[in-house]
């Protein structure tokens, strides 16, 4: 039984943690919250310089040629520090989509730049406040041209390339395809939008008959997107695990500092049991995330099931820890000057970024129905 990360992977995790502890304090996260910046460029450049962005990109495309497990340990540390960087958009979504579904020329065109961090990538699926489904996708792609509007697009203001979910005229799930779009061309209009988590930039992007190229096969965009989402779900689960642990520790530290009715509030069972529940959810989430990591790294057949489990478990853990962290803090936790807000915001952002827990529960049971013919 060897259900753990290797010593090398743990060293990489330590390296990421030390860098982020040093460069990405809550004060640094706050500078993004309180400015118009889409992300924190010094932290982003630092992560790129350490090679983290290229960790799971093959050496032939300018990456380090490591695997999904290395990306997972980095993700946990990004989540712990609530890092205000476009890592998930550029790497878990754009780079992974091109790695999985892209032609050789698309890989050569984009992966080296994404690996080095020279450019930022993203994936644009949603078109307003409804789940992105083939039926909800109005943006259309035909004869090499893309037209439509996407909202919200993570890191949409700063990204240079986007993978876009577009209608290509088929029926049902075959109605959509993924296309690659250079966002620096004329006909692409973008504006930043307000979200619940301003530490991560989002934009509205309009495409007016712009050039785009197909990623993968026409009409198979939905299947490819689900595969990309499954991989991203595992990686985001590690961010959520890191965030959960941070929120738990923040709440615990405060409960030891704060006195009420003549004793530390952490000595009351109402608080102790709340923190114990955070711990229980954290450990379940961590275990499910580890299994997701193992299946992702081995490209196992049950990735969809493992990814859904990791995502559901980690979403619930982070939701509970982040919201109850504020509750443990009492009034101060609700103020702008206090730090619990970073995890409260980020937990909801991550809970929705790849689709809600309800949708993933439905996906999970569909897999169970396939795999278990009892």
């Amino acid at each position: 039984m060897n259900f753990d990360f290797s010593d090398d992977q743990k060293m990489l995790k330590d390296q990421a943690r030390k860098f982020l502890e040093d460069k990405c304090s809550y004060g640094d996260v706050r500078t993004v919250l309180e400015s118009d910046a889409s992300h924190h460029d010094d932290i982003w450049q630092g992560l790129c310089d350490l090679g983290f962005t290229g960790a799971a990109i093959p050496e032939e495309y300018g990456g380090l040629g490591l695997g999904a497990l290395e990306l997972c340990v980095i993700a946990e540390e990004l989540g712990r520090s609530a890092a205000p960087v476009p890592f998930s958009s550029s790497i878990y979504m754009a780079a992974e989509a091109i790695k999985i579904g892209g032609s050789e020329s698309l890989k050569q065109a984009w992966l080296p730049k994404l690996a080095s961090g020279e450019i930022i990538g993203t994936l644009a699926a949603a078109e307003g406040p409804a789940a992105p489904t083939p039926r909800n996708t109005k943006t259309s792609f035909a004869n090499g041209k893309l037209t439509g509007r996407k909202l919200p697009v993570p890191d949409g203001e700063t990204a240079s390339v986007a993978i876009v979910l577009a209608n290509t005229g088929g029926t049902g799930e075959q109605a959509v395809s993924l296309v690659v779009v250079d966002l620096t061309q004329d006909g692409v209009t973008r504006s930043s939008v307000e979200t619940i988590d301003p530490t991560r930039g989002h934009a509205e992007i309009s495409f007016d008959n712009v050039d785009a190229s197909l990623l993968g096969v026409t009409g198979e965009g939905w299947a490819l997107m689900k595969r990309v989402e499954a991989g991203a779900a595992v990686l985001v689960a590690f961010e959520q695990v890191g965030g959960t642990e941070a929120a738990l520790h923040m709440a615990k530290d405060y409960s030891l500092d704060r006195y009420a009715f003549g004793r530390q509030i952490g000595s009351y069972q109402a608080i102790k049991h709340k923190l114990a529940d955070m711990y229980v959810k954290l450990e379940l989430a961590r275990s499910n995330a580890y299994y997701g990591a193992m299946v992702l790294a081995q490209e196992g057949a049950d990735l969809e099931l493992a990814a859904a489990s990791a995502r559901i478990s980690a979403t619930e853990a982070y939701r509970f820890a982040a919201q109850e962290c504020i509750q443990v803090h009492g009034g101060i936790g609700f103020t702008w000057e206090a730090n619990p807000q970073f995890h409260y915001r980020r937990s909801k952002l991550l809970a929705l970024s790849l689709g809600s827990a309800s949708r993933w529960k439905n996906r999970l049971v569909s897999e169970l129905e396939k795999s278990n013919v009892a």
Partner: protein
């Protein structure tokens, strides 16, 4: 990252497999969770003793014990490997766990070499069965608040009082007991610990009928029960220290939950029609199913993380403490929800009429006790918050007060 055995583990596993194949009957996969024997308890005990003797003879009954006590001198991971393999066989279970998991380890730490020479092997080979006499009507979670008293009389002690929730007392040969020797000092300081013969005159055993209908536990009454001082474990007044040896082993001995889980719920949801169609198409059913699947998988992989630490010869992390906190409420809620799916017919507890032999109804009733036995949900949360997270202990108003001056429900 993988689930593979190391070469040494693989070798041990194949030895175990070979031995089990030659000595036990494989479990019927179609009857995996039913496992309800129609035989009487006495008949099952005879069969269990035979199997225990065979297992002990091969060294598999106590893999981690030293060889001088009849163990294999093996590792924790070997013990787990044996249990994993044995789970595939239809072998008797449920008679020796408390004795070998809690009582005998306490004896090994505190009894004389001569006493261990006399008692350990017969217990290991299933010839003598042991029980643990700790809980009392007024001492459950607060077990150190116990009132059963012992008084010195020459070379003997006289025990009077009542124990409760004693698993298997009615078929056990020996027991370990903690009693109050001095009520004038604070509660933890006035306890004294013994082992005794359950056939000693003055011991009366009455079964407790549970809400589930079963009677696995007993009340045990002590009326002037005479125990020689030579059967005292630890010093007079040091009984709490001895008890901690036993209690440290309790969570290991109680083990994980079993019973119906998401697989059975999935089967039920497929087979049951609701107003709008099959239950499996209902969004609420699907959400619950996913939640319990994720909890089950989380517990399974948490166990694998613990095994990984054992496999590497490390001390497992605190994650193993979450098992019962999750599985108890899950068993109860899942049973309850499955009954909801059955509508008005959900109230039936009928092996013929109710789906899966009324397994959901049985589990719903039984889980109410599982959440209490071996540490309540609330005590377990105290343990996690204090021992894992490092939060302050509860304020103990009874800490420095003589036991006989404490407030209690008996004399309020």
């Amino acid at each position: 990252m993988d689930f593979n055995d190391t070469p040494e583990e693989a070798k041990f596993r194949s030895e175990v497999r070979e031995w089990l194949a030659a000595n036990a009957r494989p479990r019927d996969p179609n009857n995996a969770k039913a496992g309800v024997s129609t035989k009487s308890e006495a008949e099952r005990l005879v069969r269990a003793k035979e199997w225990q003797a065979k297992k002990a003879d091969a060294g598999y009954a106590a893999i981690t014990w030293p060889t001088e006590y009849g163990g294999l001198g093996g590792t924790s991971i070997q013990s787990v490997i044996y249990s994993q393999e044995e789970a595939n066989y239809d072998v008797p279970r449920g008679f020796f766990e408390i004795g070998l998991g809690m009582c005998i380890p306490t004896m090994m730490k505190w009894a004389t070499p001569e006493q261990n020479e006399r008692y350990v092997k017969p217990a290991l080979f299933g010839e003598e069965v042991w029980c643990q006499l700790f809980s009392e009507p007024a001492a459950g979670s607060d077990v150190a608040g116990l009132r059963t008293k012992c008084e010195r009389d020459g070379d003997d002690w006289i025990i009077n009082g009542q124990k409760v929730w004693t698993s298997g007392a009615h078929f056990c040969d020996y027991g370990i007991i903690v009693t109050r020797s001095d009520p004038t000092v604070p509660k933890h300081k006035g306890l004294t610990f013994f082992f005794l013969d359950m056939k000693t005159p003055g011991i009366e055993i009455r079964p407790i009928k549970q809400i589930s209908g079963g009677a696995g536990f007993n009340e045990v009454f002590f009326n002037d029960v005479r125990v020689p001082d030579s059967q005292r474990l630890g010093d007079v007044g040091e009984g709490w220290k001895v008890s901690l040896t036993t209690l440290m082993n309790e969570r290991l001995a109680i083990g994980g939950g079993s019973g119906v889980d998401y697989e059975e719920l999935l089967k039920l949801a497929r087979e049951t029609e609701l107003e709008e169609g099959p239950a499996i198409k209902d969004a609420n059913v699907r959400e619950k199913l996913a939640d319990w699947y994720v909890q089950s998988q989380g517990l399974k992989y948490t166990k694998f993380r613990t095994l990984t630490a054992l496999s590497k010869g490390q001390v497992p992390g605190a994650e193993s403490s979450i098992g019962k906190i999750v599985s108890g409420p899950k068993m109860q809620d899942l049973g309850s929800f499955a009954m909801d799916i059955q509508g008005q017919g959900g109230i039936l507890q009928d092996t013929d009429e109710s789906p899966m032999g009324a397994a959901f109804q049985n589990q719903w009733l039984g889980a109410a006790g599982y959440r209490i036995a071996g540490g309540t949900d609330e005590i377990l949360r105290n343990i996690v918050s204090e021992q894992v997270l490092g939060l302050p202990q509860d304020i103990r108003v009874d800490k420095n007060v003589p036991f006989n001056e404490l407030a209690s429900s008996a004399k309020k």
